[in-house]
Subunit: 152 residues, 2 copies
Amino acid sequence: MFRGFTTLSVDSKGRMAIPSRYRERLMELADGALVLTLNPLDHSLWLYPLTEWELIEAKLAALSDFDRQSRRAKQMMRGYACDCQLDSQGRILLPVELRDYASIGKQVVILGQGNKFELWDETCWKQQRDEWLQEVGNDNGQPSDTLKTLSL
Amino acid sequence: MFRGFTTLSVDSKGRMAIPSRYRERLMELADGALVLTLNPLDHSLWLYPLTEWELIEAKLAALSDFDRQSRRAKQMMRGYACDCQLDSQGRILLPVELRDYASIGKQVVILGQGNKFELWDETCWKQQRDEWLQEVGNDNGQPSDTLKTLSL
DNA sequence: GGGAATTGTGGGTAAATGTGGGTAATCAGA
DNA sequence: TCTGATTACCCACATTTACCCACAATTCCC
């Protein structure tokens, strides 16, 4: 499973290097084939190895078209899913639309998140992180029922 | 299966290029034969490879004429279904009636959606997308029960 | 601490792709 | 049968993308 944090830069062509410690695993899993899509819950991107994405796609395909929320989730996640391939330098190309969606500028943060990675614009990530930390610290944000019983 | 997002332009003759990464698959599946029809759930269009459409047509044929919603779905989807063929440049011609239904102007968005593609006017799509993202972000729109248990 | 290998970054070039428009063939209506 | 409109095919251009090589920075090892 993927974990950890890296800051990377996006070059003028919109390319981003994948940290080398993940590359071997990515080659094993799907020969470097990746799927990048938007994270509809935050303004960030999700990056799956192709094999992991196929599981997600199956879950999405099972959702009904007649439930509006489900339909939108399918449209967004599948619609924006983009096939990427590690190039010979271990980089991937981030399509303009996805960069825009996540306001990705020159510096990117990549977070290992289990079966996938999460990509944030560096500035956005810092804001988000600080906001969330403050919420938790303040006890304003009531934890949801599931979290109330969670021991870490 | 199809996924991904592309912005394309419709030329003065009403033609639209199919992104090249899909063309080979489309030739394999049905020799470039496609069926374009309206999406009765949104004001957009659905584009099926002929072989996939035939499955849909069978499903539609099985729906009862005495259920009003089913009857309408049959009428609309079958009635507006239009045969298209990839031309030598990998383009298809969008009939005027369907372009009107989806308010398709100069710029079109094509979304891969599993067994089919979804075609939107670019402006309409952006509106749709932003509305939905806001709903999800605000936590107002309660996720439907299926979504509540969905881990991505 | 110094040298070598690995990793991250930048950019040039050639091929592929998307776009536009001219011209010939086809079709429908009068 | 003639005429006008629509559709299919062809060629040409501009942009984008993929592939390649090169350098800078970092890490690792002796």
